[in-house]
């Protein structure tokens, strides 16, 4: 509370002080707020903390993190999309940023925000999902699993972090690529509870990020079968990619920095340059290594293309999965 109060007072004093001279000052002349659409400790937050720390050193202005969790990231994403486009509000958003508008469209809802309301600054990290089963199960390969599921359609179950969520999407890609597998879907409220479902043997398989599943693989509880990566993951050199196995599917959970669409190019350039310098710093690299978060840096134009390709693919899957009741 005191910390929050101190930050709050610092920010308000800075705001008041800078309001008068803002017009002639070069960006950034006051602290920048980085919105994180998930609670502290989550993937987005863990990426945002070292990034903001590294950027504020380059820019010479504080970059404070504000967590705005809610509705699977929709609340925080909308805050970034609708912020004043002056570069003082940016966001560290996850790949789910592309799925929410697609789900809103599916349900004919007033969209919380649209993708056109955001523009890219830089991609910070990306991690592929890995398919895991219990180590004591008979499934040694994806083929074993697919064969069994085909023998008993609708009998096996998988857990996810939530419907249309970061674990549900890659699973549906897999089921579709394997010729329309039928499964029981047990949605939960996050990656950790989804993993717990598998560890407690309440479901047959799930997916997880390399860092989260690592300890359970090493302790002999879980077995990885395949990864959704483009290439084999360095921590799991023996685990094949789905591409190698003949399924043309790729899925990464990524974290990237965004600004409201109307942010001027000059401001975006400052942020891009600062981020480029920041991600190259030794301090940032060490922090990200500690967090098991692989740095995958892409500058705005490249990231924009990457993001839009990803979004198109995900929107198609959301459409294909459709609403639950219509199944």
């Amino acid at each position: 509370m005191l910390i929050r109060l101190a930050i709050f007072s610092a920010v308000s004093i800075a705001l008041l002080g800078s309001a008068a001279v803002q017009a002639q000052d070069a960006y950034p002349s006051r602290p920048i707020t980085m919105i994180v659409a998930f609670p502290p400790g989550g993937v987005a937050d863990k990426n945002a903390r070292p990034t903001s720390a590294a950027i504020e050193k380059v820019l010479g202005q504080p970059v404070t993190i504000t967590n705005r969790p809610g509705a699977g990231g929709a609340v925080g994403n909308a805050v970034v999309a609708h912020a004043k486009p002056d570069g003082y509000t940016i966001g560290m958003l996850l790949s789910s940023v592309s799925v929410i508008p697609a789900a809103d469209e599916l349900f004919n809802r007033k969209p919380a925000y649209t993708l056109d309301e955001l523009r890219t600054i830089a991609l910070i990290s990306a991690d592929p999902m890995i398919l895991i089963v219990a180590a004591k199960s008979n499934w040694k390969s994806v083929k074993d699993l697919v064969d069994d599921i085909k023998k008993k359609p609708g009998q096996y179950s998988f857990s996810s972090s939530g419907i249309y969520g970061a674990l549900h999407m890659p699973m549906e890609m897999f089921f579709h690529a394997a010729g329309g597998l039928k499964l029981r879907h047990v949605p939960t409220k996050g990656g950790a509870p989804a993993l717990r479902q598998l560890l407690g043997e309440h479901v047959d398989f799930t997916a997880g990020g390399p860092a989260a599943i690592g300890p359970h693989i090493r302790s002999g509880k879980l077995r990885p079968l395949a990864s959704w990566g483009e290439n084999r993951h360095p921590a799991y050199p023996k685990v094949p990619t789905f591409r190698e196995l003949g399924y043309d599917i790729v899925y990464y959970i990524w974290a990237g920095m965004f600004a409201p669409a109307g942010t001027p190019d000059s401001v975006i350039k400052v942020l891009r340059d600062a981020t480029r310098t920041a991600v190259a710093s030794a301090e940032f690299k060490k922090a990200m290594k500690n967090l098991n978060s692989p740095i995958v840096y892409k500058d705005a134009p490249e990231f924009h293309k990457y993001w839009r390709d990803d979004a198109t693919r995900l929107a198609a899957i959301v459409k294909m999965v459709g609403k639950v009741e219509t199944k």
Binding site: M1, K46, I65, A71, A103, I163, Q197, S219, A287, K289
Partner: protein, 506 residues
């Protein structure tokens, strides 16, 4: 056993180092303050402090955050007892009898028993954590969706024991709570319900603003509506200490609350809130004089306060033994050690004995610190009641607003709190009990998703609930409880205590 002792010695050699001791102290004080702030609970407290721990070493980070966590569980009771404002969601039950005790001029004993009960429960919890972590962790994993459904159904049956007034009013309030819990995105299908296009309502209405509004704000409004200002209390020192009779009545509730709270705390989910509700229901059921509940029964403070503190230790079991967070709070703590490159997981105890045992030992130390900190403060806190209401209440209202806002940085939560304050005011004017609303709101989203998950696991087959031993046992228990609850409705001749004390008008 020898291994445990060695470990514990190692732990104390770390936890008693002056630098770590200072941090444990700071964590406990911060936690107590956070817990006392209306709306700011342990989760908000440790989330706000998380970034500040990045610069510390991982053991100190865990010790500070742990201190904040159980400190907040202690502190949450203070405002509940003195002002009927739940400092955090798990203190809702403490409001009822704790505040009634304050109105009877017995705030001192209530605060003292809350602190003592918390101390025993906390220490019991650490013992359990230390000795049984690996065993219990396996049990926690076995606790899947069907088991959770059964536990929550038991929680629902307990609703019937929650209030002293008419059953109809209790159940209608529980219904209101359950309906409020339906707001938001349906986890099974992704549909949004009753959000009226407001994105912020996607996750539903959270318990914190509702509890603060229903209990705290409504109390402030009711006081403002009185013709004469309430008399400012001037407690005497002699009245601060619990009597022999108070201790005698509290021993059972503290013991049962500790055991129950620890076991429920181990279960994944936001179980510490439920633990206090279950404990309250249990104590009322077991009491020879249930009519005292709601009017200042010390058991109604001792039980729930012990339960929620034991539950906070229990929550560390799956986190430390398996590296799996079972609640948002433990998730933040895991993040705090991951920042330092330590991998939480089943091998944590083996790979990082200093961290594990240092943390366990610091929890013993922390509980002692909190007791030393809180008992002498009882006098100080009680003296807050000397402040005239005209100054005290506007300040409290301001704290409520700031506290609710800072949990999620959300104005929506502030509006919910204010609206719930008005709703609570109206309902209390008509003599409705508000605790069932809070319990209904906590239970319904959890019950809904776990029922959905269970049926997803079985492809819609309800027999899943009778095929699993833990779930079946709990359902059977729940049915027995339910039978007790409806007995007076079926056997009109045998009146239950409600009619004995003339509460149920017939």
């Amino acid at each position: 056993m020898g291994e445990t002792l060695d470990g514990l010695l190692l732990g104390f050699s770390i936890a008693l180092q002056p630098s770590i001791l200072v941090y444990a102290f700071v964590g406990c004080i911060l936690g107590t303050l956070v817990g006392m702030m209306p709306g700011l609970g342990p989760l908000a407290g440790i989330s706000l402090l998380l970034p500040a721990t990045f610069g510390l070493n991982p053991i100190i980070a865990m010790v500070v955050l742990g201190g904040v966590y159980y400190g907040a569980m202690y502190g949450g009771s203070t405002t509940s007892i003195l002002m009927r404002i739940p400092g955090e969601a798990a203190s809702v039950m403490t409001c009822i009898d704790g505040y009634a005790m304050t109105q009877n001029g017995r705030a001192g004993p209530a605060l003292a028993i809350a602190a003592i009960g918390s101390f025993f429960a906390g220490t019991f919890g650490v013992l359990g954590l230390m000795l049984l972590a690996p065993t219990l962790a396996a049990w926690a994993l076995a606790f899947g969706a069907p088991e959770f459904t059964a536990l929550l159904m038991m929680g629902l049956f307990i609703l019937a024991y929650m209030s002293g007034g008419s059953m109809l009013k209790t159940l209608s309030m529980a219904g209101l709570g359950l309906l409020l819990g339906m707001i938001g995105i349906d986890q099974m299908s992704g549909f949004t319900r009753f959000t009226y296009g407001l994105v912020e309502l996607g996750d539903g209405i959270s318990i914190v603003p509702v509890a603060v509004g229903l209990f705290g704000v409504s109390e402030i409004l009711l006081t403002a509506g009185q013709e004469e200002p309430p008399k400012v209390q001037k407690p005497k020192l002699r009245e601060l200490i619990p009597s022999r009779e108070d201790f005698r009545l509290s021993v059972g509730p503290i013991g049962r609350g500790s055991l129950l709270g620890f076991l429920i705390g181990v279960i994944p989910g936001s179980a510490h809130i439920i633990s206090s509700f279950v404990s309250y229901g249990l104590e009322r059921r077991l009491s020879k004089h249930p009519e005292r509940f709601g009017n200042g029964a010390i058991e109604g403070v001792a039980g729930p306060e012990s339960a929620n503190n034991a539950a906070s230790s229990g929550a560390f079991v799956p986190m430390l033994a398996l590296g799996i967070p079972t609640s948002p709070i433990t998730a933040v703590m895991i993040a705090a050690i991951m920042v330092h490159g330590i991998e939480p997981g089943p091998l944590l105890i083996v790979d990082q004995p200093e961290l594990f045992w240092g943390f366990v030992a610091s929890m013993y130390v922390g509980n002692v610190v909190l007791l030393i900190l809180n008992l002498p403060m009882v006098g100080l806190f009680v003296n807050l009641l000397r402040i005239p209401y005209a100054y005290l209440y506007p300040c409290i209202l301001a704290f409520c607003i700031v506290g609710c806002f800072s949990v999620n940085n959300s104005m929506m939560d502030v509006w919910i709190m204010l609206i719930m304050g008005a709703v609570g005011y109206g309902l209390r004017k008509f003599d409705y009990d508000l605790a069932p609303v809070a319990l209904g709101l906590v239970l319904s989203p959890m019950l809904e998703i776990s029922l959905g998950q269970s049926l997803a696991m079985s492809a819609g087959d309800y027999t899943i609930f009778i095929e699993r031993p833990i779930a079946t046992t709990m359902f059977a228990l729940g049915l027995v409880l339910f039978g007790f609850a409806i007995k007076p409705l079926i056997f009109k001749g045998k009146k239950d205590w409600r009619s004995k004390v003339g509460l149920e008008g017939e």
